[in-house]
Amino acid sequence: ELKVEQNPLFLSMQEGKNYTIYCNYSTTSDRLYWYRQDPGKSLESLFVLLSNGAVKQEGRLMASLDTKARLSTLHITAAVHDLSATYFCAVDMRYRDDKIIFGKGTRLHILP
């Protein structure tokens, strides 16, 4: 059974600081997603990572994928208050059983 673990689950940080959220998964995956969710809202797609070594950047967020280590990271550079949200990674097993398995999410709170 595929398991997806994120850490930390909660992170409070100061504006201007850098930090990394980690996503580990237990079996070989086809692709990995990062989503953002604001309170009471739906999920907004941030990144889709398709291959080993993939790196994508959008603004202050950068995501990477290491399929050999079964690890993805979401790095936040010089955090700003607007990035406060919950971030989910999700692992795609579609070529096996059509499922996407989500981690529990990392609740990020950035202090002004």
Binding site: Y33, S42, A90, K99, I101
Partner: protein, 113 residues
Amino acid sequence: GAGVSQTPSNKVTEKGKYVELRCDPISGHTALYWYRQSLGQGPEFLIYFQGTGAADDSGLPNDRFFAVRPEGSVSTLKIQRTERGDSAMYLCASSLSGQGEQYFGPGTRLTVT
């Protein structure tokens, strides 16, 4: 263009009642997914449609839950004899072919009293 829409946005029902939740996917998307998200948790897969057929319904928790997509577009998630534990956000997503990125709707928040 229009994104995934879900109705109602909020539904409050009494224990034991029947509810229907509707999802209207992005036009042309053949794949449609239902997820359930409890407070403080990640979305949990329920069922996946490719066209009109349920390709994988292994996430449905029990036989009180059922979903249809009769014309390959709009889908309805049906819950019979609702229980308080069914209270959650129900999210729908669609993708172009079932092998691409999923786009999520705004969700339906179901509260069973």
